[in-house]
Subunit: 143 residues, 2 copies
DNA sequence: TTGCGCATGATAATCATTCTCATATATGAT
DNA sequence: ATCATATATGAGAATGATTATCATGCGCAA
């Protein structure tokens, strides 16, 4: 039950929070923008304010429930924190996001931070490229 | 001469552009925010508008003269594109930025992109941590 | 030197995100 | 179940970085 996730995160169980958790769990193509979450909830007939979406996302982030990413393009995307850490590769044409995890890269990062005298706390690794999915705007026949 | 850099980039040689190139070349702690560039030029007695700073930075970026980074904190930082590619590690307390290059990480990225069916175009790798420099706000005795 | 098109600066406009504040509600105690 | 109180919510204003507008200025090829 999502209620428990909220309680154990120290958050009151409220309608908006439950709806947002549900949506984050049931959404394909994780990595949603705040605006997208807002619109989808409105379309689903829910009553919610955009300010609440931002507020709750920030709370979820602080509680470790979601992660905020800053892919290029100015707007942040959020994803439910499920399972282990991973990094991302984003299609510069269609915006499709794939995830990956590479232990050797993670290991090198720790070594680099130590060598430079930093206590590593976090990192961002995002690859950008052109994907090969049919329908991607960047296909060679396009334009 | 910076004039040549501008011409070979297909840009007219103008005062603001020359001043900005100079500043980018002569600035310690590369990785300047647009606002910082603007202020430093004003302080140096130059007459320039903030809009021009943003415009020129965008042109420099398009011409490959500078790189734009989005470290966390909302504002972009720019650095002169000199020499080979590198990635960054940023102190979460004092904002100090160090650069590094790791061939094995670069190599793994290419392999990952290929495996996932992406034509790799670019990437962002930024480590965040606490630095060990004296005077850093995050020193253990602080607070 | 001239003319034209790009460049510039001041300012308004955007865009995403955050803040304000009056109202509504969850939750622990009664 | 009822209350009391701290917290949550929604609408809209406010913010901060960046971009667009537009009248004027200037680089540069002819
Ligand atoms: Zn694609
Ligand atoms: Zn992800
Ligand atoms: Zn750098
Ligand atoms: Zn530091």
């Amino acid at each position: 039950m999502e209620s428990q996730d909220l309680r154990s995160a120290g958050l009151k169980v409220t309608g908006p929070r439950l709806k947002m958790l549900e949506l984050l769990e049931n959404t394909q193509g994780r990595h949603l923008t705040a605006e997208a979450i807002y619109r989808q909830l409105l379309d689903a007939g829910e009553e919610i304010g955009l300010a609440t979406v931002y507020r709750v996302l920030t709370q979820f982030e602080a509680a470790g429930l979601v992660t905020r990413h800053h892919f290029e393009g100015g707007h942040a995307v959020f994803e439910l924190e499920r399972g282990p850490h991973h990094d991302h590769i984003v299609c510069v044409h269609c915006g499709r996001v794939e995830e990956f995890y590479d232990e050797s890269i993670e290991k090198r990062q720790r070594a680099i931070a130590e060598k430079l005298g930093f206590n590593l706390r976090d990192h961002t690794l995002t690859l950008y490229g052109e994907c090969n999915k049919p329908g991607c705007k960047g296909e060679k026949n396009a334009r």
